[in-house]
């Protein structure tokens, strides 16, 4: 932890970066993203297991980019997100200093993105027990029960798009739901509109999700939307043997194919 | 450190020196070889010719037991056992129905989580890393590494070494100071199970192997399979008859060769159990 603060101070005072994107203590015991531009403010940076925000979100926003070169405090899911965003041309290696933090709260520095690629491949991210249990519960349900489960959950949705706003992979300027020629997805938060929205979002994240779970964390209505992505991520691993955010190769799951992709449902 | 161990019938019987040398090596490295509890026959070499289900069920039971005992690495020194276990894992992992059926037969769940190691694998993974600093007495001999058939084939399943001209044993031998000879019989047939039923065929096939090794001026034949060993060693009288000469070329397990380089006692390595006495020239004894 002290190492992180020192490193941030060093980067800021040497002028190597203009801003360090990290975590700080917020109000009401919450943790929140922090933007530290002065070395003396670096002391407020912290990192622990409760830091759930996916800071990769800020790395390509023009609001943060205009401050200058960035350093980012990057737990494993942020590292994966950085790789995904790099393969999607949203991040450039030389515009960013990555301060990796391990689940053991240790600082790791990466000389380049290639090293991040190596590291994330050696350090799989485990799913939280709570999420694993929920997935097991969902899998144990009958299909109709699953339908009912999600219908109930989606009925809470107010279409505030916090799930979208907090997700680094939702990097589109204009989301499909904002497209109105035609209006594929209803804007209003009625049942169909909510269902279409969450299905569409999960599909657009399939093979691109770093499995940080932040969409579920962000939902003010406590809808576990992240489970949709978690589950399909597991399914994708079963079907294709791949997970997102482990490679710098520019090949996203749904933008590539193999002639021997195995399915059993096409007649 | 505990590693799973499947002895199989050979190394528990006729090839005790193979087991002994494995254990001796393991001991030198602080590794405990833990036998699969209640293990059974792997089905080699006849089951797969007679009954597919049986040929799969036997190894499947072994693997299931190993999984149940929490073994992740499973050392299988006998090449025939290794082959059967690997083939079974391969077959079961690609066919869910078959997996289910076989599980019903064995009454045990099969997950396929066990990593099956042949002796060379094991050496590469567990022994090589600290080998150079442990060598007391370089094994400075010309050796003919004999791989046989079961260690490297079928390549599609085993994915070990290159099947036509394997190199892994040669590489291990180089590391302990030996000079592998370039010879033509690395993967030729030794006669295998005909050892019992048709000794004349074994004499012919194994004889050619021994003859070429002698011709290439090898000091020893290095093997990693008890069946190869018994054909080349135990059937030496018949081989000599076929070759019409007395050949004293010893046949040594790779584990024994490494053991000698590590300075392990000959008896602990079971070298006294061979039919062809292992009398290597003195030069190596003197060198350090």
């Amino acid at each position: 932890m002290n190492k992180l603060k020192e490193k941030a101070k060093e980067l800021l005072s040497s002028g190597a970066v203009q801003v360090v994107v990290g975590y700080e203590e917020g109000t009401g015991g919450k943790i929140r993203p922090a933007f530290v531009s002065r070395p003396e403010d670096a002391d407020k940076l912290l990192y622990n297991a409760d830091c759930h925000h996916n800071l990769a979100l800020y790395l390509y926003k023009h609001e943060t980019k205009r401050i200058g070169k960035m350093a980012v405090v990057a737990p494993p899911f942020v590292l994966r997100s950085i790789l995904i965003l790099t393969t999607e041309f949203q991040l450039e290696e030389d515009s960013l200093v990555v301060l990796g933090v391990t689940p053991e709260e240790e600082l790791i520095e990466f000389a380049n993105f290639k090293e991040i690629e190596t590291w994330v491949n050696q350090h799989p991210i485990g799913m939280k027990e709570k999420d694993r249990e929920m997935l097991n519960r969902l899998n144990a349900m009958s299909r109709d029960e699953r339908w009912q489960f999600w219908q109930n959950e989606f009925s809470k949705c107010i279409k505030c798009f916090a799930c979208r706003g907090t997700c680094p992979m939702c990097s589109c300027f204009r989301c499909t739901v904002d497209y109105n020629a035609p209006q594929w997805i209803s804007v209003g938060s009625h049942q169909l509109g909510n269902f279409d929205w969450h299905l569409m979002r999960a599909m657009h994240l399939a093979g691109r999700c770093s499995v940080c779970g932040q969409c579920g964390e962000a939902c003010p209505m406590d809808i576990p939307v992240h489970l949709l992505s978690f589950q399909i991520n597991e399914d994708i691993f079963k079907m294709f043997g791949s997970r997102a955010g482990l490679t710098l190769k520019k090949e996203s799951l749904l933008s590539t194919w193999k002639s021997n992709d195995v399915e059993n449902f096409i007649r | 450190m505990k590693i799973g161990f499947y002895p199989g019938c050979s190394v528990d019987g006729g090839s005790r020196e193979y087991k002994e040398s494995c254990r001796a090596l393991a001991k030198a490295y602080g590794i405990e070889l833990e036998s699969v509890p209640d293990w059974n026959c792997c089905g080699a070499s006849a089951a797969h010719n007679l009954n597919r289900e049986l040929a799969l069920a036997l190894p499947a039971r072994i693997l299931s037991l190993a999984e149940k005992a929490g073994m992740t690495d499973l050392l299988v020194p006998c090449a025939a056992c290794y082959n059967r276990l690997m083939l079974t894992q391969h077959e079961l992992m690609k066919d869910e129905t078959l997996r289910k059926n076989i599980s019903e037969v064995t009454g045990l769940e099969f997950k396929g989580t066990c990593s099956i190691l042949n002796v060379v694998h094991w050496i590469q993974k567990w022994i090589l890393p600290e080998l150079p600093e442990k060598i007391k007495k370089p094994f400075d001999y010309k050796v003919a590494c004999y791989y046989g058939c079961l260690l490297v084939r079928p390549h599609k399943v085993l994915k070990f070494d290159r099947p036509e001209d394997p190199q892994s044993l040669d590489e291990v031998m180089k590391l302990i100071g030996a000079t592998p000879v370039d010879w033509a019989f690395k993967t030729e047939c030794c006669g295998a199970g005909l050892s019992v039923s048709k000794t004349d065929v074994v004499a012919d096939l194994s004889g050619k192997i021994v003859r070429d090794a002698v011709y290439r001026q090898a000091d020893a034949l290095i093997v990693a399979c008890p069946m190869c060993h018994s054909n080349l060693d135990m059937r030496r009288r018949e081989i000599n008859g076929y070759l019409k000469q007395n050949v004293s070329l010893p046949v040594i397990y790779v584990t024994q060769a490494i053991g000698l380089a590590l300075g392990i006692d000959r008896k602990e390595l079971g070298l006294h159990r061979h039919f062809v006495p292992v009398n290597l020239p003195e030069k190596a004894e003197a060198t350090k």
Binding site: Q90, R174, A181, P182 | D212
Partner: protein
Amino acid sequence: MARIGVFVCHCGENISATVDCDRVAENASGLPGVVHSVDYKYMCSDPGQTLIKEAIKEHKLTGVVVAACSPRMHEPTFRKACAEAGLNPFLCEMANVREHCSWVHEKTESTTQKAKDVVRLLVEKVKRNEALQPIKVPVTKKAVVIGGGVAGIQASLDIANGGHQVLLVEREPSIGGHMSQLSETFPTLDCSQCILTPRMVEVAQHPNITLWSYSEVIGLDGFIGNFTVKIRKKAKSIDEHLCTGCGLCTQKCPVRKIPSEFEQGLGTRPAIYTPFPQAVPNKPVIDKLNCTYYLKGRCKLCERVCPTQAIRFDQPDEIVEVQAGAIVLATGYDIKRTDFFPEYGYGKYKDVIDGLQFERLASASGPTGGMIRRPSDGQIPKNIVFVACAGSRDPAKGIEYCSKICCMYTAKHAMLYKHKVHDGTPYVFYMDIRAAGKDYDEFTRRAIEVDRTKYIRGRVSRIYEKEGKLVVVGADTLLGGQKVEIEADMVVLATASVANPGSEELAQIVHVSYDRYKFFAEAHPKLKPVETNTAGIFLAGACQAPKDIPESVSAASGAAAKVLGLFANDELTREPLVAVVNRMAPPLFSTCIGCFLCQPVCPYNAIEREEFKTRDGKLLKAVARINPGLCQGCGTCVALCRSKSIDLYGYSNKQIYTEVSALLDEALV
């Protein structure tokens, strides 16, 4: 406001027998936006078409739906009719009420209902159609042929004889390729160089052909009709205009022991060299890696002896950009070499050689003057074993295909050997004899029956050396798998034909796809064998798959015909059904964020990166742009794009969304 005309065809009774056409027309007339709706016996007849044309004028139609047969049948007909009446042809759609309706259902209410639904669907679609203009692309009538083997030579000559400029680019100092290395050719046993060299000379002298040897393509931009090819002309270290090709320098060069590439390492060459006597161009190059001057900074013997002072040690590589309308890839093949066959001792035993080496041994101009002598000691081998399918058709070796030429050349080798070593015994181990071709089977029979080659059907398991002999161990499967051991003096492996090294790299440079063996991929295995998926790039010869000489030449002529067909027009006209990425005012420029996930999706490499920069060159945004010259309109990128920034003319998001709505908004049945 839309003014749609609906024209329901009876197709004689083909439609009207099961569909109530007048009710379909009547129903359509009630749809919003439909101002005219009629049915008629034969819409595609002249009077039928006139009906449409007049209605377009009279009712000022903005869209036409013809409910008739499949659009795959008559869409061009009706679109043309519309165009003749002044309506943009892309504002005409067809509702398929024959193949998809009247012919597949009995006469029931449901069948008429289906016709009504399909008409409604297309009325709603056509309301959202846009008037599109065909895409016109100018054509630069110059071809670049990459590779100067027999295929490249043939393609160049055919295009040049068709009256167009050709630039032939060859990597080696001379054109000629593998064919120039061959001794004789099957099935006629005529001398390879005798038939090839006149063609090589023709290339050199053809007024329409520019030959750049010792040159490589290093970049390609643009699209069909409009390529820019970037070529590196490697420094030959001589002034080609001054050099007369007298050869004095090559005789005097003190470095003489360099293994000759042309002789497959069986002969040597100096550091300044022409690969072989009949080389075209017949002017030497200096091999910088082996030249004493380049290595040690002194020597320059060649410079001193050159009568025309043509040596240029300081010559740099030159990078040139060339405009071209079409590219022909003719980069040929290679064969597998050492370490691929450890069990055959290839690379370990000097007398185990490959087919190309045998060609050089058998060649009158080769290192042995055409005598079959084994490389190790120059002895004439008395027992010689030829191993066919060395690596080919062998999944364990990763090559599952048949190399195609080996059966024939192995038979040829056996014959050539027997013709030169009368008391020798040639053996051939083979899997199958594949001799399908004109006079081919007769040829292999001759090798067996006349020249008494011992053909053994089986594979060789191992070759090892013992007491000066190569012991070939194999099996004779026709004798019940009996083991065969032959003590040979020399072994010739017909090693697998493989893609040329560098083919993958070249494929990436010119953006063509390749198969899993790195051979270039044709656009369609049957119907487009010389086209690639990149329009304007064609394939000739063995760069696509192993081919023998006649096939390579045929493919080359085929590719040339495609190029000539392309060059027959000054402009290319293409259907405008292409994808497009939206554009808008700065600072957005587009809703595209430039993730470029669409790029790998496009089979035609039509998706480019467009960068918007400030005046001082700072990058503001990079977004996708679709090259309308390359896009074929499959729409895969459109479906993939998350921000819906790509749309497809003719099948736009609005159109297809509306089609689904239009279908389901009213009860189907």
